[in-house]
């Protein structure tokens, strides 16, 4: 049993090296970080400083070269693919810069997709998907395909999809990167509303407005956290 006071994300001395041709790239060089439950953290820094690598490790879609990553009290740094997939499905919601919705599915079906993977009954997932689309203000667009939605609407569908299985943690990688300023502001407001409703959010961004909306900023440079 993990106490609610324990950090939801805990990284200790995490390193991540890549082979880039003959060269070895040290993307993360001994990063330690705690994110409290209910927090809203923005990871900022120049391009190539290791922000996305850090987010990928927190999201269990990558594994560290060394160090430990604990999410919701569970070590995730050495999980098998099957374990990691199941962990992500039930514990983590992802939002990406590009929305990556399934083009042949409607907004409702896209949101219901992770629930189908989690083997929820159709009625349950349709009801939950409708509820989430209403939460992000897209009740009237349930039956629309991604190609019939604006960029901001597609990102809101992607956020609803990320929340489908009640994740403990919502991760977003440049969620306003492909949006105009006005639509970006709508997404920032939506993230603030989500956080005030209890969702823990970690976001990687270059967008100052989005970073300013977060409760805490983590600054990175050359694979290290320079100011948390």
């Amino acid at each position: 049993m993990i106490a609610d006071s324990a950090p939801i994300v805990s990284l200790r001395d995490v390193r991540r090296d890549y082979a880039l041709g003959a060269e070895r790239v040290h993307a993360l060089q001994g990063v330690s970080l705690d994110v409290e439950r209910g927090d809203y953290v923005a990871i900022v820094g120049p391009s190539g400083c290791g922000k996305s690598t850090l987010l990928n490790l927190i999201g269990v879609i990558d594994q560290p070269t060394s160090g430990t990553v604990t999410i919701s009290g569970k070590r995730v740094d050495a999980m098998s693919d099957r374990e990691a997939t199941s962990f992500r499905l039930h514990n983590i919601g992802f939002v990406f810069q590009r929305f990556y919705l399934m083009p042949i599915l409607s907004a409702l079906e896209n949101v219901a997709l992770p629930m189908a993977e989690a083997k929820l009954r159709r009625e349950e997932r349709d009801a939950r998907a409708a509820e989430l689309l209403a939460y992000v203000g897209l009740s009237s667009r349930e039956r629309h395909r991604p190609s019939e939605l604006s960029g901001g609407e597609q990102q809101r569908v992607a956020i609803a999809r990320a929340l489908a299985n009640h994740p403990a943690l919502l991760l977003a990688d440049e969620p306003t990167g492909e949006l105009d300023a006005r639509t970006g502001t709508e997404i920032i407001s939506l993230f603030q509303r989500l956080n005030s409703d209890g969702t823990t959010i970690v976001v990687v961004t270059h967008d100052e407005d989005l970073a300013n909306a977060a409760r805490h900023n983590v600054h990175m440079r050359d694979g290290r956290i320079v100011n948390a």
Partner: protein
């Protein structure tokens, strides 16, 4: 759409080759069995009407055959050719001398059958050449010398009816008379001779046992059951079968490569989408399943279009090949059999599954973070 059409063309070719590989054999088998005769006796070492050779001693052979209680009917057939002058022209035709009550060589269509020794029935093609009507008397000769334009062994026969000759070739003039009439036309040389015996066995009796019995009792003839005839035809048609097998295999391989290429291109284009699916918790197995289904869907749609296309092309090719001189009209090179269609469809769907597995597994095995990083850079 173009890619699906490509799969359809490969399917059409595969179906045609499957039909070609089995069609002629099945068609030949159906033709042999169509009149219910199970065994043919031909001059030793030949197939029926393969040469001009004849079997002597029809009466004696008939007597021997009648001694076997498993033999129900015997139809000796004498083959030859006749010449009929029409104005200044000579019209020649193949002729069969048969007993009309037990014959299995033609289907009588109209008029009167060869119930009298002076009767002759002809096929539609010969009737058109003769421009004759039922009841007309024809001067029929067994021989014709084109140098001197003289006929030998001439006899007057009455055209009594029209028939369709089952083993006749396209655009072949053919006629039938009673066997004794044809014997008389040929003078002494054809007396008591037959080109072929057709034998019908009693229901329940084994044609192969009867065939073996005949081979022992009458060693001067070749006894051919439907099975041995098919085996012989199989041997002669092995070239067709090999060709069909090679072209069919090539079609299948081309279809396989097309689907693999299509699915691989599709997967590469959607690498980011697949990585995101994996990131949100979609399992590797589910990704593989979806992509394999995609490959199968392309194969099935292509195969359905291809089956229709294959049937149309088979019909067209069959009409060309069936016009080959000397081949019985009833022989089909491309015979549609539901089993052939199912085989082609099954092979295509199978290849669609295999075609999808490699790109699917490759897609599902891509490192998620690395794929997303590449997508972001792209």
């Amino acid at each position: 759409m173009l890619a699906v059409l490509g799969v359809a063309v490969a399917t059409a070719m595969l179906l045609d080759m499957v039909m070609l590989a089995t069609g002629m054999r099945e068609s030949f088998r159906e033709l042999l069995l169509s009149q219910g005769f199970d065994i043919r006796l031909a001059p030793k070492g030949t197939l029926p009407f393969d040469t001009d050779a004849t079997i002597p001693g029809v009466s004696a052979i008939t007597g021997v055959l009648r001694s076997n209680p498993d033999i129900r009917e015997i139809s000796p057939v004498l083959g030859g050719s006749i010449h009929i002058p029409v104005g200044a022209r000579d019209v020649s035709a193949a002729v069969l001398g048969v007993d009309p009550t037990v014959q299995g060589d033609y289907e009588f269509l109209s008029g009167r059958d060869i119930t009298t020794p002076d009767a002759i029935v002809a096929n539609d093609y010969l009737l058109k050449k003769l421009r004759a009507s039922f009841g007309d008397t024809l001067n029929v000769s067994a021989g014709y010398d084109p140098q001197t334009r003289t006929y030998s062994g001439q006899r007057k026969l009455v055209l009594t009816g029209k028939a369709r000759f089952i083993y006749g070739a396209t655009e072949q003039s053919a006629a039938a008379v009673r066997r004794e009439t044809l014997e008389a036309l040929g003078g002494g040389a054809r007396r008591d001779r037959a080109s072929l015996f057709m034998v019908r066995v009693r229901k329940g009796a084994s044609p192969d046992s009867v065939r073996n019995w005949i081979a022992t009792q009458i060693p001067s003839v070749s006894a051919i059951s439907v099975a041995t005839a098919i085996a012989e035809v199989d041997q002669r048609l092995s070239y067709f079968r090999q060709l069909a097998f090679i072209l069919g295999a090539v079609s299948l391989f081309v279809g396989f490569l097309l689907v693999t290429t299509l699915v691989t291109v599709s997967v590469n284009e959607r690498a980011g989408e697949i990585a995101v699916m994996r990131a949100i918790g979609v399992s590797r197995a589910h990704v593989v399943q979806q992509i394999v289904i995609e490959g199968v869907a392309i194969s099935v749609v292509g195969a359905i279009i291809g089956l229709a296309l294959g049937l149309v092309t088979a019909r067209y090719l069959n009409s060309i090949l069936s016009a080959f001189p000397g081949l019985p009209m009833a022989i089909d090179f491309f015979l549609f059999q539901p089993r052939a269609a199912w085989s082609a469809l099954g092979l295509l769907v199978g290849s669609g599954i295999f075609a999808g597995i490699y790109p699917a597994w490759r897609a599902a095995s891509l490192p998620i973070a690395e794929s997303l990083r590449r997508e972001a850079i792209a």
